[in-house]
Symmetry: C2
Subunit: 238 residues, 2 copies
């Protein structure tokens, strides 16, 4: 595929994956708050591999064979787990050189649905926006950005990041679909201050309950010059 014959498209929630052709494409999974932000931060800071899993019990099984267990359920730390879902927890001495089994409500589901057919599965967040865009720019593949959302519903933070990636790739990838345009439009409105935009965006109850330093951290672009992809069901650096 030559320049501008490549297509970039956005899937607004994992519920709509069935509407998209994944064969031969690179799928990029986006779960800004907070799974893919944790994954990128962790792998950029010494974690060896991260295995995304669906169930808490599956995490515990991997814990018993030497993995650290991480993740959340309804934004709460899980009993007996080593790590919560703050990106800072994935950048400590404790995690350096380790393998992590991670369960999340939305991101894992999106990864599981994408890996069946996609040629390659990446995970990305604002923290590795430029690195991911740069990688995609040099692959002769169509791209599908899959927003993990929140309990199957569209999540604005994921859609804004999808819009940022579409914008970063507009010299090389055409967007033909309305959902892709919608993501780009929202990002164009938000880009001056994404955090402020999300806070202003109506009554985002989810955000109010997600306090502290994590939310601003998850929105800082280009902190890490890494590309993260899935190999044999585990995420690692490219």
């Amino acid at each position: 595929l030559s320049s501008m014959n490549r297509v970039i498209d956005v899937c607004l929630t994992p519920e709509l994956i069935c509407q998209h052709e994944l064969s031969g494409k690179i799928a990029v999974i986006i779960d800004v708050f907070r799974a893919t932000s944790c994954m990128v931060a962790g792998l950029a800071n010494g974690i060896k591999r991260i295995r995304p899993v669906l169930e808490v019990e599956e995490c515990r099984a991997f814990q018993s064979v030497g993995y650290l267990a991480g993740g959340e359920r309804d934004a709460q730390m899980i009993e007996g787990f080593d790590l919560d879902n703050s990106p800072f927890s994935y950048m400590s001495e404790k995690t350096n050189g380790r393998k992590i089994a991670m369960t999340t409500t939305n991101g894992t589901l999106a990864i599981d649905r994408a890996k069946v057919k996609a040629q390659e599965v990446l995970v990305a967040s604002f923290s590795n926006l430029s690195a991911t865009a740069n990688y995609l720019r040099h692959q002769e593949k169509d791209v599908l950005l899959i927003c993990a959302g929140w309990k199957g519903r569209p999540g604005l933070e994921d859609i804004l990041f999808a819009g940022a990636l579409v914008k970063a790739l507009q010299e090389t990838h055409v967007n033909k679909e309305d959902s892709t345009h919608l993501a780009l439009a929202a990002y164009d409105l938000a880009k001056e201050n994404v955090l402020e935009y999300l806070q202003r965006a109506s009554h985002l109850k989810r955000l109010k309950t997600l306090g502290g330093e994590d939310i601003p951290f998850c929105l800082i672009p280009d902190q890490f010059d890494v590309v993260v992809h899935l190999v044999d069901n585990e995420l690692c650096l490219k």
Copy 2:
């Protein structure tokens, strides 16, 4: 429900209706290009009732008992039908005082899914924006706007109209969900010139194939001061 305790929400495609609670709510079906634009224009101009149906054969059955048959498949007129899917066809002498059985690809499906649980089902388009907003403003009910889209995928024109309705109701209805904010954001960008915005919006192949006067007509706000609702499976004026 007092003012501002009412909620307005947007369902971006009929595929996502299952994520929304419909009980006790007013559902507004939006299929700007062109089903709900035809329905509003027709009922405002003398059509007695419009029965939305899923199948072409169902339309033909109603044709045999005195209805006119209208609709499209893949934007084409259907063999043996009386009306295509141009709103102008629904405002003629031929249709005055008549009942119409209408099949469309997307709008009918959305109506069928909504009517099962919603307290009331309206259909709306730009042409009755203010009338619909005014009606909703005076009902003590939550509102769900259902965008019909295109083959299950989100359609920008429907989402823009949903955003226009959310904006018109922002004094009385709160929007708590990200999808609703997204619709509002897109409309805020587009509102100065919706047609131009849709034309600029990336490579909207669908629009290019939908020529003529219909598209601009479907985007003109407040042509008709009517509210359209579903009674016993047929649409009529409120």
